[in-house]
Symmetry: C2
Subunit: 335 residues, 2 copies
DNA sequence: CTGAAAGCGCTTACAG
DNA sequence: CTGAAAGCGCTTACAG
C-alpha cells in the first residue's frame, strides 16, 4: 500500500503538506499548484489513507460500534442494521458490528472489543423493546429499541401505547364496537402491556366498555396464536374485529377465520402490528398493520450520536408508528 | 484510557515485558512472578489493549470486512450476517460492515473504506445467488452467496440444482406423477434456471415426462404468485403437487388452493424453497421447504478466510440444502 | 529473564 | 506558503 511519505516524495513536498492537502485542510495554507501536484500524485499512486494511523494520532476513528443483544436472531434486525449502516455511510462513518451473544461473558468481551477498537459512539441495539443493561464503562452510548438501566443514556422506542390506540381507533372509526385483542404470553416483553393499554384507551375514549373476555393471551408461537384466535372467534358473541399484538398472531387469526368460513374483511376485520412484509403482504387479503419505526429510530440515533446533539438531559424518546392500510379492515357486517 | 506504559510503570517493568505478558507471549520469556505482577496491574487499572496501535505495528487487524451488495434489504441477510458475526467472534476477529449501496460510486467508497481500515479479509456478500463484480484491488476476498467475475476468488453458493432435484424427488417418492413447478420471472436471478433444471432432472430420473405446461412463471410479487398458481390449479388435469421456486410463491399456491377448496396436503402437496420461517411456519399446514444453507456457507467462508485454507486453486463451492419436512406434502389423493 | 529503542503511518503545533 | 519533528500506543528484533 502506498503511504503518505511516498505520495509526498512523488509530489516533492513534505508529508505535512501532503497531509493537509489530502485531508482537505489546505485551503489558504497550501498554494493551488502544490495542492494540485499532491492530488495528482495520490491519484496516480492509488493512495488510500490509513485510517488506523489517522485514528491513532487524532484519537478519533469515526466509527460507530453496534452492540447487539442477539439482535440478529430477529427479523426486526434488518431495518435497524440497514439504517445504522446507511446513515453512517452518509455521514462518512464506519460501522463495527458486535453482539452480546446473550450472556454476560460475551457482553464483557463485546464491550472490550468496542473499547479496544476505539469506536467514537455506540448503538446498543435491543431485539425488542426492553430495558437494557448498558455497561458502566461505555461512553457516548445510546439504546436503540429500548432504554438503559442508567439515567445518563438516551434511548429510543416505538410509541407502543399511541400506536395501539390508533390501530384500535381505526377499527372503531369503521364502526366496530366489539373489538378483540389477541396477544401473547411473553414474559419480559413490555410491549404486551403497553399495546393492551393503548387498546383499552381507545375503547374508553370512544365510550366503549373494555371487556376482559375479549382480550386473549396465547402462547408465543403459531399454535398458540391459533388457540387464542379460536377462543375469540368461537365465542357466541363473536367480535367483528381483532387487533393483534403482532403480525404473526394476525396470521393465526386468518387461519382460524378460514377454518370457520369467515371472510376477511367482510365478516371480520383484522389489524396486525410490526409490518413484517413477509407476513403482511403474503396474507390474503394483505394485512392492515401498524409499522414499527425501526429504520427511523436507528437513523435518528446515529445522527444524534455523531452530531452529539442527543436530548440533554438524557431521556427515552418515543417514535410514532404509522398504520399501513392494506385491505384487512372494513365496516362491520350488518347485524 | 489506561495505556501499556502506565501498566508497565505500575508493575515496575518495561513496556516490552508488559506487552509480552498481556499478549500471552510470555511463556518461557518472563518469570512467573513478573507476569503475575503485570497481569494484576492491568486488571486493577482496567487496561484494554489499543487495537489500533497494535494493528499499526503488526500490520494485522484481525478484522473481517463485509461488503454487502444491498444485502440488508433482503430477509436472507439475517442468517448470513449472523453467521459472519458469530464465527468471527469465536475466532477472536472483529467485523466491519459496509454496503455497496448498489451503485458503482458507493462500491468504490466501500472498497476504499475496507482498504483504509486495513481489514485482513473480506466477505463480499450477495443478496441472492449471482455473479458479483469483485473490485480488482481487493485481496483476501471471497464471495458469499455467489461467484466472482475474477478467476482467483473463491465463492460459495447453495447447490440449487441438487436441492430442486431432491425437493421434486421427495414428491415423486410420495407417489406424485403430475408435479407442477411454479416459479418467477426474475431477470438475472440464476437460481430460477438452476432450480428448474433440478426439477426436470428429478422427473427424468424417475422416468416421468417433463411437461412444459406444468411450469408456470409469474411476476415476482404476491399477485404474480397468485396468478401463476391459479393457472396451474385451474387446469383440467390439475397436478397433485407443486414445487415452488420460493416460499413466497408457495404462499400464493396456498391462497389459491384455499379459494378452490383444495386441502393441503390431502388434495395438493406443496414444497417451497428458502425456509423463511416467517412464511413457512405461519402457513397452515406449515410448509415443507428446502432450507438455504446461508448460515453454513458464511461460517465456512469466514473460517476459510481466517485460516487461509480456502480451496486452491480457487473455485465456487456448492453447499447442500436440506429439505425441512413440515406437513404440506402427502401421497396424492386416490384417483 | 528483562529493557532500550526503532518504527508502523499519520497529523498538528511550531518555526521559518 | 512550506517543512522538520514530535507523538499517538503498541510490538519486536536485538542487546545484555
Amino acid at each position: 500500500m502506498t503511504t503518505l511519505v511516498e505520495v509526498a516524495a512523488a509530489a516533492g513536498v513534505s508529508t505535512a503538506t501532503a497531509s493537509l492537502v489530502l485531508s482537505g485542510k489546505d485551503k489558504g495554507r497550501v498554494s493551488r499548484k502544490t495542492a494540485e501536484r499532491v492530488r495528482a500524485a495520490a491519484d496516480s499512486m492509488a493512495y488510500v489513507r490509513d485510517a488506523l494511523a489517522g485514528g491513532m494520532r487524532n484519537r478519533r476513528t469515526r466509527t460507530i460500534g453496534v452492540l447487539g443483544e442477539r439482535v440478529l436472531s430477529t427479523p426486526y434486525a434488518v431495518a435497524m442494521i440497514d439504517a445504522v449502516l446507511t446513515t453512517s455511510r452518509q455521514l462518512g462513518w464506519s460501522v463495527l458490528l458486535t453482539d452480546s451473544g446473550g450472556d454476560e461473558e460475551q457482553t464483557r468481551r463485546a464491550v472490550r472489543e468496542l473499547q479496544s477498537r476505539r469506536v467514537d459512539a455506540i448503538v446498543h441495539a435491543a431485539m425488542y423493546h426492553q430495558e437494557v443493561h448498558v455497561a458502566p464503562e461505555l461512553e457516548t452510548v445510546a439504546v436503540l429499541n429500548g432504554f438503559a438501566d442508567r439515567e445518563d443514556v438516551v434511548g429510543v422506542v416505538p410509541d407502543e401505547v399511541a400506536a395501539a390506540r390508533e390501530a384500535t381507533a381505526h377499527l372503531i372509526g369503521l364502526g366496530h364496537r366489539r373489538i378483540a385483542h389477541v396477544t401473547a404470553v411473553s414474559p419480559g416483553v413490555i410491549a404486551v402491556g403497553l399495546r393492551r393499554t393503548g387498546y383499552e384507551q381507545a375503547l374508553t375514549e370512544a365510550g366503549l366498555e373494555a371487556d376482559d373476555g375479549l382480550v386473549v393471551y396465547g402462547e408465543d408461537d403459531p399454535a398458540g396464536a391459533d388457540a387464542a384466535a379460536r377462543t375469540v372467534l368461537e365465542r357466541p358473541d363473536r367480535p367483528t374485529a381483532v387487533f393483534c399484538f403482532k403480525d404473526a398472531i394476525a396470521a393465526g387469526v386468518y387461519r382460524q377465520a378460514a377454518r370457520l368460513g369467515l371472510r376477511i374483511p367482510e365478516d371480520l376485520s383484522v389489524v396486525g402490528f410490526d409490518d413484517l412484509a413477509l407476513i403482511s403482504t403474503n396474507l390474503e387479503p394483505p394485512l392492515t398493520t401498524m409499522r414499527l419505526p425501526h429504520y427511523a429510530m436507528a437513523d435518528w440515533l446515529v445522527r444524534g450520536l455523531v452530531a452529539g446533539d442527543l436530548p440533554d438531559p438524557p431521556r427515552t424518546v418515543r417514535f410514532h408508528c404509522r398504520l399501513v392500510g392494506r385491505g384487512s379492515t372494513a365496516p362491520p357486517p350488518a347485524p
